[in-house]
Symmetry: C2
């Protein structure tokens, strides 16, 4: 058996209450001698408090949950790292759950984490029905912060990218290079951030007085092969001189399609991506893209969550991150 507070108390000839006080640095009302004495025997016996017992009584576990679609999507590792670093620094542990944007899995994780009494949850979900989960959590007094994907508006705390703005910048960059026939490979139609990116694309075109061709906006599902499929058609048609891919993964697909069709980037097609994920630097020519500071966003989300855990009843906080256009080699003047 592990050694407990009772063992310490017995050994030190004090009550468990006193031991508990020194462990928690409570009320100065404790003589320096006993404090030191108890501390010495805590060290001697290498005592480690049982977090379950403590959590049961304090109703705080210093644990947070993180539910995201898929850690394997290269956008997420940096996000997770940011969350983990900030959480750990503040003394919190994090539970990880991959939902695959699947309602059942999300629900299961929420339940699991709730039973394990997490102090709060960071949620990245695209699903419409997830709203019920957020509400449930909040009703149970478990703070939630949404990240990257989620409900627009400020009903919930959240950390997002200015997706519309980023897409606008990407498209405008293309327009400034004299492109007018610009394809847009969007993400899954149901995903909010994809819709926002499409909006930004449209706004840039509209501003430039170019009428939007709905046939130039096609979903590639945020996946490499989706981007590839869509790009193959767009490029074969030759309708378009530039492509804005709503994420980098799909931009990779565009590169593959271009290579297959013997088209050169940027000479034959200019392409802009979105995310600036790690290892995108291996693409040649280097991809011009919209940078999303995943690590920072994760860090911020964790901070907000921990704040609202500590000061109960804090009202929600929403942060929108500024996109940044990283001009590299995949675009050129027409």
């Amino acid at each position: 058996m592990a050694i407990t507070i009772k063992d310490i108390a017995k050994r030190a000839n004090v009550s468990t209450a006193t031991v508990s006080r020194v462990i928690n640095n409570k009320s100065e009302g404790i003589s320096p001698q006993t404090r030191e004495y108890i501390q010495s025997i805590i060290k001697e016996l290498n005592y480690q408090p049982n977090a379950l017992a403590r959590g049961l009584i304090t109703r705080k576990t210093s644990t947070i949950g993180l539910i995201l679609p898929d850690i394997t999507n290269p956008f997420f590792p940096d996000l997770v790292r940011g969350i983990e670093d900030a959480a750990n620094k503040a003394g919190y542990s994090v539970f990880l759950g991959n939902s695959d944007d699947n309602a059942k899995k999300e629900k299961k994780y929420v339940q699991l984490m709730t039973e394990k009494k997490v102090d709060g949850i960071i949620f990245s979900s695209t699903a419409k029905y997830s709203k019920d989960l957020y509400d449930e959590l909040i009703a149970a007094d478990i703070p939630v912060v949404l990240i990257d994907r989620g409900e627009s508006g400020d009903a919930y705390s959240g950390v997002y990218m200015k997706n519309e703005e980023g897409a606008y910048m990407a498209t405008k960059h293309l327009l400034e290079q004299n492109h007018t026939r610009i394809g847009c490979i969007s993400g899954p139609p149901s995903v909010q951030n994809s819709q926002d990116r499409v909006e930004g694309y449209k706004r840039a075109l509209a501003e430039a007085g170019i009428s939007v061709q709905e046939s130039w906006i096609v979903s590639g599902g945020y996946r490499i092969d989706g981007g590839y499929e869509v790009a193959r058609k767009m490029l074969a048609d030759g309708e378009v001189t530039a492509i804005f891919a709503c994420n980098d993964l799909m931009a990779i697909g565009v590169y593959e399609a271009a290579q297959e069709l013997g088209k050169s980037i940027p000479r034959d097609v200019s392409v802009v991506g979105f995310d600036d994920i790690r290892l995108i630097s291996t693409l040649m020519p280097k991809l011009t893209t919209i940078r999303q500071p995943a690590y920072q966003m994760g860090k911020e989300a964790a901070k907000i969550l921990i704040q609202s855990i500590k000061k109960k009843g804090i009202k929600q906080k929403v942060v929108y991150w500024e996109p940044e256009l990283m001009i590299r080699q995949s675009t050129t003047k027409l």
Copy 2:
């Protein structure tokens, strides 16, 4: 307040013991009617057991810890996903910790997880001193399984790649293409799997009757820029016609150096990597590499851990995974 087993008991006019029994599907010794009745009111009140209280008494939390160097290293997300999937399927949650291969952080995570009473830990560490942590854990009756990196031999359960074998295959492939002057960019000298890979490289050369030049073995620290630095020198010297990079990240660095020096892959240099990480497919020409099935390895590690959690006292189990040579476009006959 959340609703408790007491509330259920009161409402159902039974004792908490009975409620507990139906929750845990215990001893058939319970009448179908009461069981059903209690279940109905559990559902009605949407009762969720408190895992802290349960864990406190059962000494099982259905939680495992995962400590790895850095989720941001592209080798790990798949590993994590494999672990998470297997764990979740078996009803376990996972705590994530990034150690940066740093002794203090590792120790901190072990302590945190121990206090939170994880049932077991999956550990990926390169550090020599981590051995003490494993022993501590095992002494505290917390099963450990090492993954990818760790103590060689079978003192601990572990899931590893046959690193020596993989490197041997990579090098042999190069030899079969008539290369004899083959550079080796190794990982950090202290990392076991890097040492093993270097051994495999040496064995292949020895077998081919080629004397090993120690000056051709240089560490790139498993990082892109490290691979780049080393490759720049190797390629500038022109001493070498092929490079075996001990991981894909460093192979990326080789590509960058080659491009900068105006050398063509594979015409001027052949290169083989190790890992077959995601997105390596974006490298052009496509990288020939040794495939490491990260997802499967993670899954296996979780299964082994859960097994040893369930059947206490099971003796350790060590699994070595077979490497696979993925021949693509970065190597050619001399």
